[in-house]
């Protein structure tokens, strides 16, 4: 019955409703104009390229000659492309090696900086934040000299302590550590500053109550600080995930477009760049981009699940 009512009433009702909607929209035309630049730019430089890359992924094209439709060939190649899969794992590995120490040290530094009556707090904050202002290109050039296999500064330190030098740039594991260390160095201070602000927003009464109850510093840290800091920690985890999926400059400058020995430093974005812009495989580059998109979607989904869980 209600269906019938709806069916008969729909036409008239809707003109009325949409009529007023259009009037409302028209009335606010200036506002739409104000917010429009983002949507226009996104449509041209965001949405359209993404759709276009879907089209390109079915083509074979060197960017100069004619495009050639190849169906699913690029995707077929992608699935059996060991370097592509390697790039995904490398990216995840580097992300883990960088995010965990980075967030851990950031928490510790923030905790220390939050100590009562600490003098020179601002100086410390500036000193810790400074690496973040440095360009990645510069960081990679400088760190390249620290991690040199034979003449690097770190191997000098190791050998002067009687230890074996490490072939940083050759080893499957240490190359990733070298790349991750640049990220850690550049972003720890940034995250520490954010944590510090989070800590400062925790009411001191809570700490005092804990102290009266006889809780130790470690206990307070795990029982009060960490739980109350949770949203801030989540924010930093999400930002470092987005950043971590996009790592490019560090390996590119450190070991070149090929990602170093056995492509151990090859990341997804570096692979995309290498395939598309140094080998001119534009079609295949687009297929790689879609592979990347799937990986990020899965990752974001997991992230989202983690964020959702505690609230239920």
């Amino acid at each position: 019955m209600s269906n019938l009512e709806l069916a008969t009433g729909r036409g008239r009702k809707q003109t009325g409703k949409y009529g007023s909607l259009w009037r409302e929209i028209y009335r606010n035309k200036v506002i739409y104009l104000f917010i429009s630049p983002f949507y226009i730019l996104f449509a041209i430089f965001g949405l359209f390229p993404i759709l276009f890359s879907f089209y390109l992924a079915f083509q074979k094209w060197d960017g100069i000659g004619e495009m050639q439709f190849v169906g699913l060939d690029q995707f077929r190649y992608l699935i059996t492309d060991t370097v592509f899969w390697k790039a995904i794992w490398n990216t995840l590995e580097i992300w883990i090696y960088s995010t965990i120490p980075m967030l851990f040290f950031a928490l510790v530094i923030a905790f220390l900086l939050n100590s009562a009556f600490l003098r020179y707090r601002n100086l410390y904050r500036i000193a810790y934040f400074l690496p973040n202002v440095t360009s990645i290109v510069a960081v990679a050039i400088i760190f390249g000299t620290l991690f040199g296999n034979t003449y690097g500064f770190l191997n000098f330190i190791l050998t002067s302590f009687g230890l074996e030098p490490i072939e940083w740039l050759n080893s499957r594991f240490w190359l990733k550590i070298a790349i991750a260390s640049m990220i850690v160095w550049r972003w720890t201070g940034y995250n520490a500053i954010i944590y510090l602000a989070g800590l400062q927003s925790i009411p001191t009464v809570l700490y005092e109550a804990a102290r009266i109850d006889g809780a130790s510093t470690v206990q307070t840290f795990f029982r009060i600080t960490i739980p109350l800091l949770r949203p801030v920690i989540l924010f930093t985890v999400i930002t470092s995930t987005i950043g971590g999926m996009q790592i490019f400059t560090e390996p590119q400058i450190l070991v070149g477009n090929g990602g170093g020995p056995n492509a151990e430093g090859m990341t997804i974005v570096l692979y995309l760049y290498q395939q598309a812009f140094t080998k001119n495989l534009f079609g295949y580059g687009s297929a790689v981009a879609w592979g990347l998109f799937v990986v990020i979607a899965v990752f974001s989904f997991i992230n989202w699940k983690i964020v959702q869980r505690p609230e239920s």
Binding site: L21, I25, N28, V30, I31, F34, I35, P37, F38, L41, F45, G46, F48, P49, I50, F52, S53, L56, F105, I109, L112, N122, Y124, A127, Y128, L130, P131, V133, T134, S135, I136, V137, A138, I141, I142, T145, L146, T150, Y151, F153, F156, S160, W185, I193, I194, L196, A197, G198, V232, F248, I253, L272, Y273, A276, F277, G285, S286, L292, F293, I296
Partner: protein, 277 residues
């Protein structure tokens, strides 16, 4: 006794923090050591860890081999233009989202937030092709225009505007006969200044340090930005490493100086931004 204990505790605290500072600062120190040495000294093993006297020679070599000031000016131009345009479009849109009601507002805003999750690198290839079709390859338009209304910037300005601009002010402005744009320009902008300062510096630093996109899109050395020039310097002249290091120092220093000038406000703004989320 208690006083002594507190002093020891404080000392340990500072010591721990200073170790962290040392790690933060070491690469800058190391860079300066290398930039002031000769290439042979850099290659020495064990390495030389004190400042040398070759800084001026190295700088002269940089200037002789690459157009450092040219790329410096290019970078300043691109960063400034990006920053001004971003500030304008983001504050305008952020203010509109914060203070006006209009049909579809929620959907549009969620859409805007969702775009933040899409990594830009995904569309590297087609973006290049679009720039090629527009004839923008090798021009600064391709660096400045696509990002000038960033989702993050709009989000940030909206958050700030929501908390800081009272509806009374808007209404008063309306009664005075201000149109929308005047409300924005005369009423909102002055209040938004702290948020603008943060977004401005954030955009400026990001644009200054941008690497991947300019690497793809700039093909004329006369138009290179500092990051591209720096990676070129590193790639072309690696037999003169002292010079590469001097160039790195020269490219890094301006931004550090600028940051130190504005650092206090900027750092607290970053923190505030994260907490608001």
């Amino acid at each position: 006794m208690i006083g002594k204990h507190a002093v020891v505790k404080k000392l340990i605290l500072h010591l721990a923090l200073l170790i962290g500072v040392a790690v933060s600062m070491f690469p800058f120190y190391w860079l300066t050591v290398m930039a002031t040495s000769t290439t042979s000294d850099i290659y020495k093993f064990p390495p030389k860890v004190t400042f040398g006297t070759e800084l001026m020679t190295n700088i002269q070599n940089v200037l002789a081999n690459i157009d450092f000031f040219g790329s410096f000016v290019n970078t300043v131009f691109v960063s400034t233009a990006s920053t001004l345009l971003t500030l304008f479009f983001c504050s305008l849109a952020g203010f509109s989202f914060a203070k006006f009601d209009f049909p579809g507002k929620k959907v549009l805003f969620v859409l805007l937030l969702a775009t933040m999750m899409i990594p830009g690198q995904l569309s590297l290839v087609p973006s290049f092709i679009i720039m090629q079709k527009l004839g923008w390859v090798g021009t600064y338009k391709s660096l400045i225009i696509p990002g000038m209304a960033s989702a993050f910037g709009i989000f940030w300005m909206r958050q700030y505007a929501q908390g800081s601009i009272h509806d009374d002010l808007i209404n008063a402005g309306r009664i005075d006969g201000c149109n929308h744009f005047r409300l924005f320009w005369n009423v909102a902008l002055p209040i938004l200044r702290p948020a603008l300062a943060f977004l401005g510096i954030f955009t400026f630093i990001g644009s200054w340090n941008d690497y991947l996109w300019p690497l793809i899109i700039l093909n004329n050395p006369e138009k290179y930005t500092l990051q591209i020039t720096l990676s070129q310097l590193n790639g072309i002249y690696n037999t003169d490493y002292a010079m590469v290091m001097a160039g790195t120092l020269m490219a890094t220093l301006p931004l550090i100086v600028m940051f130190l000038l504005v650092s206090r406000q900027f750092i607290s703004d970053i923190a505030a931004g994260a907490i608001k989320d």
